[in-house]
């Protein structure tokens, strides 16, 4: 009997058929995120206008299905939103990964809620948060020295 699909279909689809995995020639913000323990790397490219709105975003890189699908879902969610909303969603995502999210917060995360089970896979947490961590690093206000909303202990 063949083994069952390993990840849920939403995750597998985002991994095999990503919408945002490409270069973004007119990006004005680019940052590379690395997960040194397993070698996942994601470069996030964003175009953010003067009003702080994320007009477009893509990612490039190489990593496991969780890291790639998570970045793709994240971009689905934050393109067209402003900086503050993106950072808010990031903190919700981190809460979800810590298994501390409410049902209504989970709804805000839309498809990214498909990664909720990662909270029970400690070895894959770093994969799931890689894109989000990188996004928070790019978007956090330059003058802010506060702890990132997207760090995870």
């Amino acid at each position: 009997m063949p083994i069952k699909p390993f990840y849920n279909e939403i995750l597998t689809d985002h991994n095999l058929y990503p919408s945002h995995k490409k270069e973004l020639p007119d990006a004005n913000l680019t940052l590379r995120g690395v997960n040194p323990s397993c070698g996942d790397r994601i470069t996030l490219h964003l175009r953010v206008n003067e009003a702080g709105m994320i007009e477009d975003g893509t990612y490039t890189g190489d990593g496991c299905a969780i890291s790639q699908a998570s970045a793709d879902m994240m971009l689905d969610l934050i393109i067209g939103r402003d900086r503050e909303t993106a950072l808010h969603l990031c903190s919700l995502f981190m809460k979800m990964i810590r298994d501390a999210v409410t049902d209504s917060e989970l709804e805000e995360l839309e498809e990214a809620a498909a990664l909720k089970d990662i909270s029970h896979m400690p070895s894959r947490v770093k994969c799931a948060v890689l894109g989000w961590r990188t996004m928070a690093e790019i978007l956090r206000p330059a003058e802010s020295d506060s702890v990132l909303p997207c760090t995870i202990e």
Partner: protein
């Protein structure tokens, strides 16, 4: 086929559903090794070297007997050439720290194989930074071997030292250290070899190989973690300053200075890992009782079964040679379109332990143009049924990841 040696390893009875194919990372331990360690720690423990009472004298004898067993196991000429360390990483760092200002000077070049594990690269990088020396890379062919002409071309009048593995932890390929050492020595270049993968799997004769230093870890050869070995040519070890200083490694101390103890104590500062060394001695005795002939025949047969099975699974690519006899139980691979961590996670879900990542050989992966790989590694206690279980899961991984093929 029934594998009676497997019964010597309680790990398997305790983990009945687990297929353990991560032996290059660490091997399992036979009960006799732990029994011997326990006997020392529970019934015979005393500080070696200094006590005048019988227990201490016995601990010294047992510790030194373990050293003699290791000496014979790798065919060193003298027990003074066997230094006990924590692991191969510490062994290599020992050489690199002591080499600054003695073997390596400003303007010298250190040649490092592209195949090297980080622990046989970073100590040399740091040494180069401290001393003003330079690192040069020795590149391998696509199947992981080094060509004599490339080695010759990579050395110049500034080259002082070559750091190279005996058996790659990615390719499983054995390097012809004897020829390499001859070529290096003809140009006054010292050879530091990493024996982590070779010493547990093939007979190693340092006197024949002619290398100047060889490092290996006990935990990859049937021992607990925390004991390792540095072999060094006696005249070289004598010429080097000590690594760590403190107790046990001195002959005479004043407030102004000290006279170092003779080899090997000069390089074994502080109270030593007596139990670990005794356990390593017992592991060596286990190797001697079973014999490399038996172990190698099993590992070769299992490697062939594994690679024959992998060869017929579409989208699976083996890194390095397609000849199983050149892999020595180490089979690194990729699957088109599936990241190694997903492979490893699916394998884990099916009760199979393999390694994913860059196997502490990041520059090699960059050179091969691969971000990460998966690795199955075999030890003589594995079984045909385990190989078949691995192959079955391997053939289903693309399907489990959503591919239609």
């Amino acid at each position: 086929m029934h594998n009676s040696l497997r019964n010597d390893f309680p790990f398997f009875a305790n983990n009945p559903g687990l297929v353990y194919l991560d032996n290059s990372a660490t091997s399992q331990v036979p009960a006799c090794v732990i029994d011997r360690l326990n006997r020392y720690d529970l019934l015979e423990k005393a500080s070696p070297f200094r006590g005048l009472y019988p227990r201490s004298v016995q601990a010294t004898d047992d510790y030194e007997h373990a050293r003699d067993l290791v000496r014979d196991f790798i065919h060193a000429r003298s027990s003074q050439e066997i230094i006990f360390t924590r692991n191969a990483t510490e062994s290599l760092n020992l050489v690199a720290y002591c080499a600054g200002g003695t073997l390596i000077h400003p303007g010298d070049e250190i040649l490092v194989g592209i195949t090297e594990h980080h622990s046989n690269l970073l100590p040399w990088q740091q040494l180069a930074k401290r001393t003003g020396a330079a690192i040069r890379t020795l590149f391998c062919t696509r199947d992981g071997s080094f060509r004599a002409e490339d080695i010759d071309r990579a050395m110049n009048e500034h080259t002082r030292l070559l750091a190279i593995t005996h058996m790659s932890n990615v390719f499983g390929q054995i390097n012809d250290l004897q020829s390499i050492a001859q070529a290096a020595h003809s140009r006054n270049v010292l050879v530091v070899a990493d024996g982590c993968q070779s010493v547990p799997h093939i007979p190693v004769n340092v006197s024949e190989l002619g290398v100047d230093f060889l490092a290996f870890s006990g935990h990859k050869m049937l021992c607990p973690m925390g004991i390792g070995v540095l072999y060094g040519r006696k005249s070289l070890l004598e010429s080097l300053p000590p690594f760590l200083t403190g107790g046990e490694m001195i002959e005479d101390v004043t407030m102004d200075g000290a006279v170092w103890a003779p080899l090997p104590q000069k390089f074994e500062a502080g109270t030593v890992n007596t139990g670990g060394a005794i356990a390593l001695g017992e592991a060596v005795s286990y190797y001697n009782r079973v014999g490399f002939e038996v172990m190698m025949a099993r590992e070769a047969a299992l490697t062939r079964r594994l690679m024959d099975g992998m060869a017929v699974i579409p989208h699976v690519r083996i890194v390095g040679s397609s000849d199983p006899d050149r892999h020595h139980g180490i089979v690194t691979f990729t699957i088109d379109g599936v990241h190694p961590h997903d492979i490893s996670a699916i394998m884990a879900d099916q009760g199979i332990a393999i390694r994913a990542g860059h196997h502490c050989a990041q520059p090699l992966h960059a050179y091969l143009g691969i971000n990460a790989t998966s690795r199955a590694s075999i030890m003589f206690y594995n079984t045909e049924a385990e190989i078949d279980a691995f192959l079955t899961v391997l053939s289903e991984i693309r399907g489990a990841m959503g591919y239609a093929d």
